[in-house]
Symmetry: C2
Subunit: 209 residues, 2 copies
DNA sequence: CCATTATCATAGCGATCACTATGAAACGTG
DNA sequence: CACGTTTCATAGTGATCGCTATGATAATGG
């Protein structure tokens, strides 16, 4: 038996920068300029580190981008899963999803729009893997939305024949369009109005007939 | 008086390539890969010309991209203005706009989605002028849609208080979202279903009350 | 103290970026 | 034919791309 003794400090020279803080800087830059529009030189400048530190900590530009995407999902993008999980009905969940998207997408303390909804929609062939990773996150978001709507249908909140996946694609499209317009400079009220109009397309509840 | 005589042929050596055809090849490549994702080397390869010919005919990569955007507007993107101009009512115009967008965005003979709706949403700072040019085309499209809806309101097709610009932004967002999903591989039926759902949000006509 | 380990800064790798200088080739004109 | 004009192909410009080799520096373990 040996004492595994997690030493209080690691062995060699300790890191000279805050990894989490550096990743947040990278997230902001990627969010603003996109994957292809952000260079490693700009990243290291914004993160306050040197290239060897970046590659030591994140492996590659692509690895850093993927970690930034994950951090987005746990931070600014968290409102989505929360809305789907915490509201009592599918309609309330979608209403909150749209309402909060209008807020997050126009938060002045951050880049405009959504980092996932409208990222890497076209790119050089050598970046296809990155594009597919982001597209996969969009698909996962639509799946989660369809699942929530499906539960609403099962609960009798919506007409029986309602197509959960189709409705999820519609509201996904609205959110993606809101992200486009936020990137084009639309303000909160413009996006909130889009959200309200989209809700008018919500299927009528089954009549008591 | 001198004969201005437009000579049948230009003076020097005649061009060895079809400018219009080369531009179409460039359009397809830009559409598929985006502005930053397309290199001049790939462009000259696809266009079947050499770099000096490209720069002689189009000035720069940016100039070529701007001409490609214009060609898109006169070709695949022509369905938008046509729908707004040719339909008798605002609702019919929007319905056709959405229906044809679903077709064009999933035309298998072309890249997916819209070249304007979802292009250059983020980029390096040195390409800001290009991004603004595309954003300007999105704004112009929304303006045209708002104008058509406004005429519908004036014609009594919609409730008096209807906000034409807000409604235009909503349907613009739907089209942008359809473009995102087309780029992600959505098929025609999926987009057509989004279009149909969006039409359900069309304001009810003013009752005779 | 020395040895080990890990991170740091400097400098620069080959490849590609958008773009162009140079001169030969292909046309109308004299 | 030679001339002026324009386009062509070759080759390469400096700059930047993502990434890394090298060696100094700073910590722990003995």
């Amino acid at each position: 038996m040996e004492k595994t003794g997690h030493s209080r400090r690691a062995r060699g020279r300790p890191p000279g920068f805050d990894r989490a803080a550096a990743l947040e800087r990278a997230l902001a830059l990627f969010w603003e300029r996109g994957y292809e529009g952000t260079s490693v030189a700009e990243l290291v400048e914004a993160m306050g580190i040197t290239p060897p530190s970046l590659y030591g900590a994140f492996g590659s530009k692509e690895g850093l981008y993927r970690e930034a995407l994950a951090l987005y999902g746990e931070g600014p993008g968290r409102f989505g899963p929360r809305a789907l999980a915490e509201e009592p009905t599918a309609r309330a969940a979608v209403a909150r999803l749209l309402r909060e998207a209008a807020e997050v997408f126009t938060d002045r303390s951050r880049p405009g729009g959504c980092m996932i909804s409208t990222a890497v929609l076209s790119c050089a062939p050598e970046h296809r893997a990155v594009a597919e990773a982001v597209a996969g996150m969009r698909a996962a978001a639509t799946d989660a939305l369809a699942e929530r709507i499906g539960r609403g249908i099962a609960a009798g909140e919506l007409p029986e024949g309602t197509d959960a996946r189709a409705l999820a694609r519609f509201y996904g499209a609205v959110i993606q369009g809101m992200s486009v317009q936020a990137r084009d400079g639309a303000d909160h009220d413009a996006l909130a109005a889009i959200a309200r109009t989209a809700l008018a397309a919500w299927p009528s509840p089954p009549g008591p007939e």
